[in-house]
Amino acid sequence: MIADSRLRLLLSALVALTLTVLPLPAWADTVRPQFLVLTVLFWSINAPRTGGVAFGFFAGLMLDVFQGPVLGEHALALSLMAYICVREHQRIRSKPAFQQALIVFAALILYEVVLFAIDGWTGHPVTSVLRWVHTVTGALIWPPAAAILAYGAGRRT
C-alpha cells in the first residue's frame, strides 16, 4: 500500500513537473498555475505520511533546476509549505472545497512571498505584478485539481 501510494505520488509529481515546464505562449505562461506546488500541497494535506517535507524539498529542488536563480530557493519555500500543510492537514482536510481553495490561495501567497524575499536577497529582484498572478489561478484550479489527484490516489471518501 505504501509502495503503491509512493508510486502514485511520484507519477503525479512527474506529470505536474511536465505541466510546469511545458512551453506555452507568453500570456498562458503568465496565468499558468504552479502545478507542482499544488501537487505538494495536495499530498501534504491528504497523505502526510508519504508526501511531506522531504517531498516538498525535492520537488522544490527540481523547480530550482528548471527555473530558479539559485539552488535551494524553491526547495526552501516548498518545504515550508509542506511543513505547514502537514501540521494542519486535519484541519484543512475537513473543510469544504471552497474554503480549501481559500487556504490554498493564502498558502500560495506565502510561497510567493518567500520566493520574493529570497529573490531580493540574492540580487535577482523581479518586482512585476505578474509574478502574483499564479496564486489566483492556482486557487481557482484547486478544486478540480484536488478532485483529479484524489481520484488518482484512490482515496475512499
Binding site: 486535519q90 512585476s128 505578474l130
Partner: protein, 353 residues
C-alpha cells in the same frame, strides 16, 4: 487509508517529527543557496541535476518537434521547390557580399596600418536547436541541445542570423540554458552605431523590446538608430547588431530619456541558433570571455589591472583606434603583435552583420 489513520493507539502524525524534518531541510536549502550564490561551489551539483532534467525537457518538447517533422514530411513538391529557389537566391546574394567582404576586410586592414587584415573575430560556431522556450514577463529563457560535451561554456554569446540573442547561464552536459537579451534580468552594453554613444540595453520582459534607461534627456539618439554591442562587459565582442531604436520619449521634467528598441534577432520564430567562440587575441573580442558572466564578480581584476596593457607612443594610436578598446589606453595587441599568419581571411560561413 491515510485519511483516517489516526486511531487511538497511534499518535497524531505531523505534530512531532515533521518540525525537526522541516528544520533540517530548511537549513539544507539555506546552505545550498549560500554556496550557490557566494562561492559557486554547487556548479557540479547543478551540472548533474541539469543532466537529470534534460530527458524531461526533451520529452516535453517532443510533441511540437514531432508535429514539425510531420509537417515537413508532408510538404508539397511545389513548396519545397519554392523554398529551394529562395534559398539559392539568398545563398547567391551572400556569396556576392562575401566576395566584396574579403576585399573590404583587406582594405580596412591596410587603412588601419596592419600588414594583413585580421581574421574575423568569430573563431568557431556551433548550430544548436532550441529544445524548450520559457517566455513570459518575468523570465525569458531558452534551452539549447548543446552542452559541455560540445565545448559550450557559461557566459557564451548566442546569435542568430540577424543579431544577438543572449548568453548561456547554466551549462549541463548535453544542454545549455540561455538567458535572452530581453529577459528583465539581462543587460547588454551597447553603442549607438551612428554616434558612438555607449549605454546599456536592459531587457523589458517581452520578446519585442529592450529598454535603454540610462540615457540623459539630451542624448543624441533618435528613431531608427542601430545599436551594436560595445565590447564592454566581457561577454559579447564588439560590433554585433543588437537592436534598432523604435521609440524616443523626452519629457521636460524627467532627467532621463525613455528609449525603447526592438531586438533584431527573431527570437519568436527561430528554431536554430548559433553558439559562437571568439578569438581571444582579436582587438574586437570581449576582454575576458570566461571569467566575467552576468554577475560582475571580477572586481579583484579591476583593482589589480591588466599588466599586459601599456601606454603606447602616439604614432600608432590614430591608426589602431578601435572603438572596442576605448576604455583601455590603446588596443595594444592590434598593432604591437603581428597578426596570425593568415594572409587571406577565411570567408565567414557564419552570421555576418
Amino acid at each position: 487509508m491515510a485519511a483516517f489513520g489516526t486511531g487511538a493507539s497511534r499518535p497524531l502524525y505531523g505534530r512531532g517529527g515533521s518540525g525537526f524534518r522541516f528544520t533540517f531541510y530548511a537549513v539544507l536549502s539555506v546552505v545550498a543557496m549560500y554556496l550557490d550564490q557566494r562561492g559557486h561551489y554547487l556548479e557540479r551539483v547543478r551540472y548533474v541535476l541539469q543532466a537529470a532534467a534534460y530527458p524531461i525537457q526533451l520529452a516535453v518538447s517532443s510533441p511540437p518537434a514531432a508535429w514539425r517533422w510531420l509537417k515537413d514530411s508532408f510538404a508539397t513538391r511545389e513548396a519545397l521547390q519554392a523554398e529551394n529557389t529562395r534559398l539559392r537566391a539568398a545563398s547567391r546574394d551572400l556569396e556576392l557580399r562575401a566576395m566584396r567582404y574579403e576585399a573590404l576586410a583587406r582594405e580596412n586592414g591596410e587603412l588601419r596600418g596592419l600588414r594583413d587584415a585580421l581574421p574575423p573575430v568569430a573563431d568557431r560556431w556551433l548550430a544548436a536547436e532550441i529544445v524548450t522556450v520559457q517566455v513570459n514577463g518575468l523570465r525569458q529563457r531558452l534551452l539549447l541541445n548543446r552542452g559541455a560535451a560540445n565545448g559550450v561554456f557559461k557566459g557564451q554569446a548566442v546569435l542568430d542570423d540577424k543579431g544577438l540573442v543572449g548568453q548561456t547561464t547554466h551549462v549541463g552536459p548535453w544542454s545549455a540554458e540561455v538567458i535572452l537579451i530581453t529577459d528583465p534580468e539581462h543587460a547588454v552594453p551597447v553603442r549607438v552605431e551612428r554616434t558612438g554613444l555607449r549605454t546599456i540595453a536592459v531587457g523589458a520582459g517581452d520578446t519585442a523590446s529592450l529598454a535603454l534607461p540610462y540615457l540623459p534627456a539630451n542624448a543624441d539618439i533618435k528613431d531608427g538608430d542601430l545599436l551594436v554591442t560595445s565590447g564592454l562587459g566581457g561577454v559579447f565582442p564588439e560590433g554585433y547588431p543588437v537592436a534598432r531604436v523604435t521609440e524616443v520619449h523626452r519629457d521636460a521634467v524627467q532627467p532621463l530619456a525613455q528609449v525603447r528598441a526592438a531586438p533584431l534577432a527573431h527570437i519568436d520564430t527561430d528554431t536554430e541558433l548559433m553558439l559562437v567562440w571568439f578569438r581571444e587575441d582579436h582587438p574586437a573580442a570581449p576582454k575576458n570571455p570566461v571569467a566575467v558572466s552576468a554577475k560582475p564578480d571580477a572586481v579583484g581584476e579591476l583593482k589589480s589591472g591588466n599588466a599586459a596593457i601599456r601606454p603606447q607612443t602616439a604614432t600608432h594610436a590614430p591608426a589602431a583606434a578601435a572603438p572596442a578598446a576605448s576604455t583601455t589606453p590603446t588596443p595594444a595587441p592590434a598593432s604591437a603583435q603581428p597578426p596570425p599568419p593568415t594572409p587571406v581571411p577565411v570567408p565567414a560561413q557564419g552570421p555576418q552583420p
